[in-house]
Amino acid sequence: MPVTEKENLLKTVRSLRWDIGDDLHDTLMTDIYTDANRISEKVISTSGKKQRFSWEGTLDRILTGRLTGIPVMLLLLSIVFWLTIQGANYPSSLLSTLLIDDIHPILKSILSTIGTPSWISGLFVDGVYLAAAWVVSVMLPPMAIFFPLFTLLEDFGYLPRIAFNMDNLFRRAGAHGKQALTMSMGYGCNAAGIVATRIIDSPRERLIAIITNNFSLCNGRWPTQILIASLFIGAAAPPALAGVLSAAAVVAVALLGIFFTFLVSWLLSRTLLKGQASTFSLELPPYRPPRILQTLYTSMIDRTIIVLWRAVVFAMPAGAVIWLLANITISNISLAEYIISFFDPFAILIGLNGVILLAYVIAIPANEIVIPTILMLTVLNLNISGVGSGAGVMFEFSDANAYTTLFSQANWSLLTAINLMLFSLLHNPCSTTIYTIYKETGSAKWTWFSTLMPIFLGFMITFLVTQIWNIFFI
């Protein structure tokens, strides 16, 4: 084709573009729908008039009603949590007896009879095995109950209705109604909650849900809250009120978490994330009878097993690190003790102590092992003999008095307890969760942000509480 002819042609094309206009994409879409409509009208025949079943309409009016929507939601979620706690109790103690009380000594004795050096059995059995066993026995039962129940509600079609009910509240915080669901999942496990944010298909709101999921107290942190609240808050109150007050303290911490979820969502959507694209969509699917077996299978495989596996993989090296820190000594003082005394001056500023800070650093794989690590480190640091199971071996007490005695020996006060509860809510996510955040966002930047932002908040809040407390009580 001669050059001039080509030039002319291109010129025509360019001028035609202005006539066609800017909405070519819209026109194409409309045409595709029109064609599809014509075809479907030709080939699909319906007998009778299709209508929405009236019971579905009635159910929708109850589940999303002005007066009934929220109470029904609270009731159903309470039932799920109650079933989880009640149902997990027995299998949890069973697993813990089996894995920690029975198998652990057996492994130790087998290794010693075949003449393995004690550092090998210490590192691998007391360290690696015990950490993994602990994580499994605490995590598995609640997750195996919580996630299938949640999936059943999802399958039935109820969860999108919760998102629908709650959307107004979350919209004001710049978030998506479905974040109510990922938050609830976070109460089971933050890593699973973050995987669940895939249901939010708007990029900005999804990032918000991922970053703030850590403010939902997970399964691994509830026991810490309950233990510390009943030991310290309950003890500080008159006996008649002890139970109520310690329960109220735990609820207050959980509510503080919800407060931070909304506050941080609001701030993020107006500052760092305002440039991220946002598109809302929420389908309310028809109600369906849940497919129970399939649900059990998928929620076990997709959520429980994958998350548990990740947790175990991360717990094992941490177990090794915990054991090594407690057992490697330089001039008769363990590495752990050096680090504890290094952390102490800073820890006092935020009303904690070096032991607690070190425990949070080395127990990063799972919040479940924070308390056992604190106990072991406290005994090590105070050089108490006859308590616990030796350097680097995590343990728990079976009665409350033993805790109180140990903690008072370590100079814990009511302030330490309050700060520990706050710090348990506001610190970095566990490494399983951090890894999951990285997998889901694919961005190192947001992973760092989600990791460091809660620690910063935690330091600020505990610092404020401690210093204000000191003004009044010292």
Partner: protein, 342 residues
Amino acid sequence: MIIDPLSALSTTVIVLIIILILFWPDKGIVWQLQSNHKNSQRVIQEDALKQIYDHEYRNKSATLRSVAGALGFSMDKTSDILDKLMRLGLVSFSDAHYTLTAQGRSYALRVIRLHRLWERYYADETGFPEKDWHKQAEKLEHSTTPSQAAELAQSMGNPLFDPHGDPIPTIAGEIIKHDSLTLNSLKPGNAARITHIEDEPAVLYSQLVASGLYPGMHIYITEKGNDRVRFVAEGEEIVLAPVLANHINVQLIPEELAEDDVSESLINLNLGESAEVTSISKACRGIQRRRLMDLGIIPGTKISAELTTASGNPTAYNIRGAMIALRHDQAKMVKIRRTGSE
């Protein structure tokens, strides 16, 4: 070891305030310093070229005073910049005003192309609010390489207009003239501004004036046939024969400027009522628009309000057999025609 709590608290507060002053988004000292540093000579020159182009486009003469005013610089500084541009052969000076040379005009159009492309990008592909589009484009227009620009344009399907309805210059530096479209070339659903009414022959012209049409008027086309054009202007419906319509030049504008008085939005639909979608407002752009269309909301779709929450926001609609919840700010973008209640 206990540190005095009051001094610990006040030290921390002071440190936090300093960090905030330094790093506060957009207004922090660190960011201010960075952006000042970026205002190199080239950036200032490009801005000056753009301002002179803008004067010419609006048929105003670019004097030293008016260019200085537009740039926000002193007369001395502006005069230095313009002298430099004249030495570069981009600007010429006569009769106390500045004009662009052919080379200068093509340079200005390249910068304007980048500006409008970036505005379009920010409007369509990001969540930044409208007031930030221009600000971001002002920064990026100076630092985008030609290959980046080509990539950007291609990724958006070579858009023709920026979000304000101004045409984007082509890569060859061509820009559509305001009066190159006639009323006849519009399609139903188009919104336009009248830019020019041909005053010859006088008979036709007086007929057009009698219809109440004037340049600058916003119109919205409702019907286009071989024998007539029907459109709405300022709430009144006007029908013209094609021979008359051919004498009116128009510029396409974003639909939302003209459509408000034309059709109702989905937000007004009460529970149990049904309607037919007539359009999605042009103010709904990019992925938000694609999302609505993906849900099946296109002209002609039947839609009915089914279910709402305590606050009324969001509301669930029946769209092609599926229950879809839409928020108010989405629903108000969907324009409907009522078809009564079922």
